[in-house]
């Protein structure tokens, strides 16, 4: 710890000496990210263009592979050697972890100037701040708890929209199954199992229970009867997926709904991108509805963001500020989120060009913020640091893929969380 900090300090010092002569240079930003394909790559290109139009010099550092694992490894070695990039695609509690290492820059100047406190949702502000100072900027808000369904298949069993309660969900699934239709398209990868799990926790336990169990890791909530019921429901859901689900990628599961091979999928709104790319129209070719809520509505968010690392040199500090300002700007938030399928992470952006599902997402977000239902997703690394969410995901996926009883699952959940904590 001490050693890494002194290495860091030494590196920063050397860099400062080297660049002291370069005052009033062009604002420069090196951006480390793993948005290298499809709509994401286009979205980054939009930011780059915007940045360059404002006189900045953009140094692109894409690191593809492993859903960010590879980029994180690069980041670790760069920070250790005292040569951190200006902006890094980071999210959730990982931002706090890096801030604790003293590696992140303070963005309060820009935040005050642009009045971020007024435009960013409170829960997201908490994630972007360390010790009350802004250290990162959010780019989007994905909603995780969606059900994507095929209206044609639902009509076959007399349903017009997605189920409102988990009881309704089970009844609908039974009807579909009886009609020879696979009720749920699912990919058996741990994060996908966890995605369903957290929507069930939210739906059966309600927002307050979700907060206690999956954000605060309250032991009483983790071993409560409600949690046992959640695992019971997971076992029931296991009966609604087709036998070939293990290992399937999420987009192939989305394609099953699209092609009429399965009726529903529980997935975040990146799935919408797949539908739109195939030329499908929301409300007509596919439906989006919030996952069932027995105990009050909720909105699980997954927000991508850029954390700003401590850099030295006038050009780099200016570049960082400019970048932060542009990212929070209305123009970028709109372009980026239209391309990515999410909604803007700030208020004041016109949603006219967005589709129906995005508009519903924004409306629900506003309503759920007032009732405390706007909550960070556990499965997507917003609620807990990696070692804690990983421990939970292990238990969830082991339960889903075996015949473990709900009682045992709850015991293991408590144990695993305890073990990961110390």
């Amino acid at each position: 710890m001490k050693l890494s900090k002194s290495i860091l300090a030494a590196g920063v010092g050397i860099a400062a000496l080297a660049s002291a002569t370069l005052a009033h240079a062009q604002p420069t930003a090196e951006v480390l990210h793993w948005w290298t394909s499809g709509g994401e790559a286009k979205a980054v290109a939009a930011l780059k263009k915007d940045f360059e139009e404002h006189g900045g010099k953009w140094e692109d550092s894409p690191v593809a592979g492993g859903a960010g694992d590879a980029a994180m490894t690069v980041l670790r070695s760069r920070v250790l050697s005292g040569d951190a990039p200006s902006a890094v695609q980071l999210k959730g509690p990982a931002i706090q972890e890096w801030a604790e290492q003293g590696a992140l820059a303070n963005l309060d100047d820009v935040a005050k100037k642009e009045d971020w406190d007024a435009v960013i949702p409170k829960r997201i502000q908490d994630i972007m701040k360390y010790d009350g100072d802004y250290v990162a900027v959010p780019v989007n808000i994905h909603r995780v708890n969606w059900i994507w369904s095929n209206p044609e298949l639902l009509a076959k069993v007399g349903a017009k929209e997605g189920p409102k309660t988990w009881k309704e969900f089970n009844e609908l699934a039974e009807k579909l199954k009886a009609a020879g239709i696979t009720p749920l398209a699912h990919g058996g990868q741990p994060w996908q199992d966890a995605t369903i799990f957290e929507t069930v926790v939210l739906g059966m336990g309600g927002p307050e229970f979700y907060q206690k169990a999956l954000v605060d890791l309250d032991e009483d909530a983790l071993k409560s009867d409600t949690m046992k019921k959640v695992f019971d429901e997971m076992r029931t859901i296991r009966g609604y997926v087709d036998p070939d689900f293990p290992g399937r990628d999420w987009n192939l599961a989305t394609a099953m709904v699209m092609n009429g091979k399965a009726a529903m999928q529980i997935m975040g709104d990146w799935a919408k991108g797949e539908f739109l790319a195939a030329g499908k129209v929301p409300g007509k070719d596919f439906l989006c509805s919030a996952t069932p809520a027995d105990n009050g509505n909720g909105f699980l968010f997954n927000t991508d963001s850029f954390a700003m690392f401590k850099v030295s040199g006038e050009d780099k500090i200016e570049g960082q500020k400019l970048l932060a300002e542009l990212i929070m700007g209305k123009k970028f938030q709109k372009t980026f989120n239209l391309l990515k399928g999410s909604i803007p992470a700030r208020t004041g952006v016109s949603l006219d060009d967005f589709d129906e599902c995005a508009k519903k997402s924004a409306a629900d977000m506003e309503a759920d913020q007032k009732t405390g239902g706007f909550l960070p997703s556990m499965a997507h690394g917003m609620a807990l640091p990696g070692h804690l969410s990983g421990a939970i995901v292990d238990v969830v996926t082991a339960h889903f893929n075996s015949d473990m009883s709900s009682d045992e699952a709850v015991n293991r959940l408590v144990e695993a969380v305890e073990l990961a904590k110390d």
């Binding site: 890494s4 290492q101 741990p190 199992d193 070939d244 293990p246 990696g386 893929n401 075996s402 695993a416």
Partner: protein, 302 residues
């Protein structure tokens, strides 16, 4: 003049004498640093409280304790025993059998040998991906049998958490048994033909000759094959990632995939280092007795 030329020639002679050492020195230093240095570093990290970044606060054996309390690590170790055991035994058996059959001076031996050996030329990623398609019930073998009319055919090991690890065995055996065959074939060819002819003269049957004479005489090859296969088993990573992704759930996790998850996805560098040391210990347990017997044997011969 004479004196300086003599020192020069002394220098040259010294250089010549030590040339091989000088040439080897850089790679020696590099492996000392990059292999043994990093092993020591990992060992040190396993005693630290490291999470996201390496830190050097002493934590004693806490990381090992946490490691052995993790259900997932037990699954990984159990899988390594199943996978390693079956992989080695089946590869040895198939490799030996193929070698003996090919040794019968059959026609087209060259072609057959190449066919059996080729899987070894593929990367484990390719093997894993291909077998994933073949074994997927909705895509590969099971679907083909259903299409052919055999509706009751069922082969769903890949998606069954109790059997997923065995599909890794299948793919790995397919990949490595040809290589084992080549090792055995070379050894079989090295057996003294005179002894075999003498055994024929004495009226020994062919199986008797193989079990009584040839196989015992190629015993050292068994040892080499076991060592090669055992370390392949302990370090196998890409095959599991491509074939099952460690799933369903984490039911086909191996120590190597466990270590990767902890280090690069969970920010648990300490636990990850501890698991790496456990893997090193496993490999050492196999290699050290082997090296010991080899080196001692070498002295005896020399």
């Amino acid at each position: 003049m004479g004196a300086s030329s003599s020192t020069e020639s002394n220098l040259m002679a010294g250089l010549q004498r030590n040339l091989s050492k000088i040439v080897v020195a850089p790679s020696f230093a590099a492996s000392l640093f990059f292999v043994y240095g990093f092993i020591l570093w990992t060992a040190w990290m396993a005693f630290s409280k490291s999470r996201m970044m390496p830190v050097y606060d002493w934590a004693g054996l806490r990381q090992y304790e946490r490691l052995w309390q993790m259900e997932r690590w037990h699954v990984a170790i159990e899988n390594l025993l199943i996978f390693g055991g079956l992989f080695i035994v089946i590869c040895l058996f198939l490799g030996c059998l193929l070698a003996v059959l090919l040794d019968q001076r059959i026609r087209a031996e060259g072609v057959l040998r190449t066919i059996f050996l080729y899987p070894m030329a593929l990367s484990f990623i390719v093997t894993g991906t291909v077998w994933k398609w073949i074994l997927n019930p909705g895509l590969g073998l099971e679907k083909m049998m259903h299409d052919l009319g055999w509706a009751s055919f069922k082969f769903d090991w890949l998606v069954n958490s109790d059997f997923a690890i065995y599909t890794v065995v299948i793919a790995a055996v397919w990949q490595a048994s040809g290589f084992v065959m080549a090792m055995f074939l070379a050894a079989l060819r090295g057996v003294d033909q005179d002894i075999i002819r003498a055994a024929y003269m004495d009226g020994a049957s062919l199986p008797r000759i193989y079990f009584g004479i040839i196989i015992p005489s190629i015993r050292p090859v068994f040892l080499s094959a076991i060592v090669v296969l055992a370390h392949l088993a302990v370090k196998s990573f890409d095959l599991v990632i491509a074939l099952t992704g460690g799933g369903p759930g984490y039911s086909s996790d191996l120590p190597a995939t466990f270590m990767y998850t902890m280090a690069f996805q969970r920010n648990q560098l300490g636990i990850s280092a501890a698991s790496a040391m456990m893997m090193l210990a496993t490999v050492m347990a196999i290699i050290v007795p082997y090296l010991y017997s080899e080196l001692r044997g070498g002295k005896k011969n020399g």
